[in-house]
Structures are given as structure tokens and as C-alpha cells.
């Protein structure tokens, strides 16, 4: 943890990132539930909630800029501020993907699902776990946990690829346009989840930089 001159301001940023992370995790969970339970009200509340996340991102960004301008942070302070700037961008993008999933839930509406959702909730659970772990790694400066998130990204990619093939099959073989459209929408959902997992991986990589000063990328 930082102990230098910027300590207090960095703690505020740290806490705000955790608040933002909690909101993003909730958004992903609710978007997923809105989709699988066809809960349109919940989908609307996810879309509505995106504003609060955007506002928090702007406020944290302002705090980071203020520290850079006023304190010229160096060493671990510098790494903390630059990491914060990157992490909030990843969190904000995750929230956008959750919103996109909620919009798809609204688009599918009350129409019966073409198949029971199995793989999508699996992907969603793993993506949420990665988000949670990446934030945990950030809080506890835990590089081992960060490495775990990086390895989980391969699993997500595999799930996505399987789901992609399956849904593509449904689209190609299907004779029913409505089913094809729904399969396409579910493919988009899978893609959004895959992107969320990518952003969690980015955060994990920033945690490694934060702790070691080594920049890693997948």
C-alpha cells in the first residue's frame, strides 16, 4: 500500500475504484439474470445504473489528474495513479457490455427462449468470477490471484468458441427467422461476456504492474 505524501488521496481513489467495481459486478450479474429469467424490469435498471458508473469513472479520473498535476507522484504512487486510470477505463467498458446484454434481454423480451440457457450462464459466472478476482487482486496487491485471472481467460475464450460454433449452427440450419435472430442475439451476449473477461484480464495485468513495475500483456 502507498504510504507516501499522496497516501490519503490515493486511499480515496482506491475506495472509489472498489465502489465502482462493486457496481460493475452487480450490473453484470443483473444483466445475466435479466436475460435468463426474462426480467425486463431488471434489464431496465441495469441500463439506468450505467450512468452512476460513468459518473464515478469521471470523478475518479478527475482525482487522478489532480494528483498528477499537484503532486507529481513517483515510484509506487506513480504506478498507483496510472493503474487507477487504466482500471477505471476497463471497469467502465465492462459496465457498457453489461448494458448491452441488458438491451438484448429487452430485445428478446418475453419471447420463449430457443433453448434453455446453459453455456451463457456458465460463461457469465466465470466472467463475473474473473472480475471479482481481478478486483480482489487489486485490493490485496495479490499477483498470484492476478495470474490466476490471466489463465482463466483461456477458459472463457474456449467457452466462447464452443458457443459460437453452436449458435452459428442454429443460425445456419434454422428455418425459423425468429429463432435465427435470437441465436444471433445470444451470440452477441457471448461476445460481450468474452470482452468483459478480457477487461478483467487487463485489470489483473495492471495489478502485476502495480506491484512489480513489470508491464505484462496477454
Amino acid at each position: 500500500m502507498n504510504e507516501g505524501r499522496c497516501c490519503h488521496q490515493l486511499e480515496i481513489i482506491h475506495d472509489d475504484i472498489l465502489r465502482m467495481g462493486t457496481l460493475v459486478e452487480e450490473a453484470i450479474r443483473d444483466a445475466d439474470r435479466a436475460l435468463s429469467e426474462q426480467d425486463l424490469e431488471l434489464a431496465k435498471s441495469v441500463i439506468e445504473g450505467d450512468k452512476a458508473i460513468d459518473n464515478l469513472e469521471r470523478s475518479i479520473e478527475s482525482d487522478c489528474i489532480r494528483i498528477l498535476a499537484l503532486h507529481h507522484p513517483l515510484a509506487s504512487d506513480l504506478r498507483t495513479v496510472t493503474t487507477a486510470l487504466k482500471v477505471i477505463t476497463d471497469l467502465e467498458r465492462m459496465a457498457d457490455h453489461a448494458t448491452a446484454i441488458a438491451l438484448i434481454a429487452l430485445r428478446i423480451g418475453a419471447n420463449p427462449l430457443i433453448k434453455p440457457l446453459v453455456d451463457i450462464p456458465r460463461m457469465s459466472t466465470l466472467a463475473r468470477q474473473m472480475v471479482h478476482e481481478s478486483l480482489d487482486a487489486f485490493v490485496s496487491r495479490n499477483t498470484e490471484l492476478a495470474q490466476k485471472v490471466r489463465s482463466e481467460d483461456d477458459l472463457i475464450d474456449r467457452l466462447y468458441s464452443e458457443l459460437h460454433d453452436e449458435l452459428l449452427g442454429l443460425i445456419i440450419q434454422g428455418t425459423n427467422t425468429a429463432n435465427a435472430e435470437q441465436a444471433l442475439n445470444l451470440l452477441f451476449v457471448a461476445q460481450h461476456l468474452e470482452r468483459i473477461a478480457d477487461h478483467a484480464t487487463n485489470i489483473a495485468e495492471r495489478v502485476i504492474y502495480l506491484v512489480t513495475g513489470e508491464r505484462v500483456s496477454s
Binding site: C7, H72, L74, A75, S76
Partner: protein, 273 residues
């Protein structure tokens, strides 16, 4: 032995340099190298040994009563103790930020004792142009200049130091007490003088951000020891030693505890006048 004449920049090698003044240790086994024409920033808190190091390199430290210097300083591979102090100090210039004379011509003349007044006149124009004072001083070379202006004073001292065409320039916290504009003017002036490639520069500073502006490489000096050395960028981004980390982040309590002093203890102030 003689050092190469201008315009050659001079390399410096410091080996296991240890210095004491009376019983107080100023430098503790300091070693580093600066290649000819390169710049090294020595960054360290007050009382870290920056002045002692600068004074040791041009052998002024030898003249401080009670001073004992061990180890070796090589300039262009030549041990500085084998060079007469007069010729050493002509090629290894240490900026002393005090007025030594009243007029610009006298200031520059002091650095060029033994030269004709014509030579001194020519050199005065050259160095005052170099430090950006020529325009405002050209008609008043024989009149007292304003040594109460801290920026003018430092630039005049820089001109005096450059008058012997040093191949190694030593700056000991030269912008101490200047405002940001004065600091920028001084830094720009030195950088412009360095552009000719005829000097090696060692710049000691207590301000890390200054090191970031003036040098690609830095050494962190603390308690007379070089704690860490490397590219300024890498030390700023990921210092390895907790002492460097606490200095750079301004965590003075941790730094004082790491170097074994309590935070109630005020720095005693350097023993070098």
C-alpha cells in the same frame, strides 16, 4: 599529468570513495562512472553527501580542515591527485553560486588569471552569450551587476565556471531557492551549453523532478551511499530499494526510520561550508 584540452569532454570514474570531515562520515564507498559527454543526476536529500562528492571530484574537499578522502577519482583515466589542482580545476569546473567580484568583466577575469585583457574581453562575450546575459550586460561590463538577483547571480557564476572551457561541469544543487521560472531558465541554459558536446555533466539536486528534466540517468545518494543508480525513468517508475521509494514518494517518516534517524531529529546541515 595533464588532462585533454578543450573541446574534449572528460569521463569520470569514482571508485570506492569514502570521505570524512572530522569524525562525520560524508561519503561511504561511493562508486560510479560517467562517460565523456554524458550527464548524471545525483539526487539526494539534504545532508546526503552531494556537496562532499562534488567537492571531492575537483579536490576542494582536500582543502577542508579535518577532511580525509579515501578511494580513487579518475578523470579521463587519470587519478585526480596526480594533476595539479590548478589545471584540474580549469578542466573540472564546480559552480560556486556566490559573487566573487563586482563587475561582469572582473568575474570572468577571475577565472582567466594570466590572460590578456583582450582575451578576457573576448571570453566574457562568449560566455555571457552562452548563459544568455550578453544582451542585458554588453554595455555594462565594467559596472557592478545585480548580484542580489538570484537568477542573475547563478547565471554569472555559471559564466565564470564556463570561462575556463571545462570538460566536466559539476553543479551542486545550483537552483536551490529559485522560483520555477528561474529554475527553468537555469536548466535551459545548462542544457544549451551541453548541446555543444564539449562537457560531461554531474548535477546534484535535492529535487527528483529536476533530475527527470535534466538527465536520463540518476543515482540516489543517501547517507553518503549510492543506494540505487539507473535510468531516471526506471528509478522514478520502479525503484528497487525502499529508501529510494520513500524518498521519491515523500514518505519522510519511513525514510528516516530506514536510515535510523527519528523524525524529530532535524538534519544537522552539511559540514561543507
Amino acid at each position: 599529468m595533464m588532462l585533454p584540452e578543450p573541446p574534449s569532454p572528460l569521463s569520470v570514474t569514482v571508485k570506492n570513495l569514502t570521505a570524512r570531515v572530522d569524525k562525520e562520515q560524508q561519503l561511504d564507498n561511493v562508486s560510479f562512472e560517467v562517460a565523456a559527454g554524458d550527464t548524471l543526476a545525483i539526487v539526494g536529500p539534504v545532508n546526503s553527501g552531494k556537496s562532499a562528492l562534488m567537492w571531492a571530484i575537483n579536490r576542494l574537499l582536500d582543502e577542508v580542515p579535518g577532511a580525509r578522502v579515501e578511494g580513487q577519482i579518475l578523470v579521463e583515466g587519470i587519478d585526480v591527485t596526480r594533476i595539479s589542482t590548478r589545471s584540474l580545476r580549469r578542466r573540472v569546473g564546480l559552480l560556486i553560486p556566490t559573487p566573487l567580484a563586482r563587475t561582469p568583466l572582473e568575474e570572468i577575469g577571475l577565472a582567466l588569471r594570466g590572460h590578456s585583457s583582450e582575451e578576457i574581453g573576448e571570453e566574457t562575450e562568449r560566455v555571457l552569450r552562452l548563459v544568455g546575459l550578453w544582451q542585458e550586460m554588453r554595455g555594462r561590463l565594467r559596472r557592478p551587476y545585480d548580484a542580489t538577483d538570484p537568477v542573475i547571480l547563478r547565471l554569472m557564476a555559471l559564466a565564470r565556471t564556463l570561462a575556463t572551457s571545462p570538460g566536466l561541469l559539476l553543479l551542486d544543487d545550483p537552483t536551490r531557492g529559485l522560483d520555477s521560472i528561474g529554475r527553468a531558465r537555469f536548466e535551459d541554459t545548462v542544457m544549451a551549453a551541453m548541446a555543444a558536446g564539449t562537457m560531461t555533466l554531474i548535477w546534484a539536486t535535492r529535487e527528483p523532478d529536476q533530475a527527470g528534466r535534466i538527465s536520463k540517468n540518476m543515482a540516489f545518494l543517501c547517507c553518503g551511499k549510492i543506494i540505487e543508480m539507473g535510468s531516471t525513468e526506471s528509478l522514478f517508475e520502479r525503484p528497487e530499494d525502499p529508501r529510494t521509494e520513500s524518498f521519491l514518494t515523500g514518505n519522510y517518516k519511513k525514510l528516516l526510520s530506514l536510515i535510523g534517524r527519528s523524525s524529530s531529529q532535524e538534519p544537522s546541515g552539511g559540514t561543507i561550508p
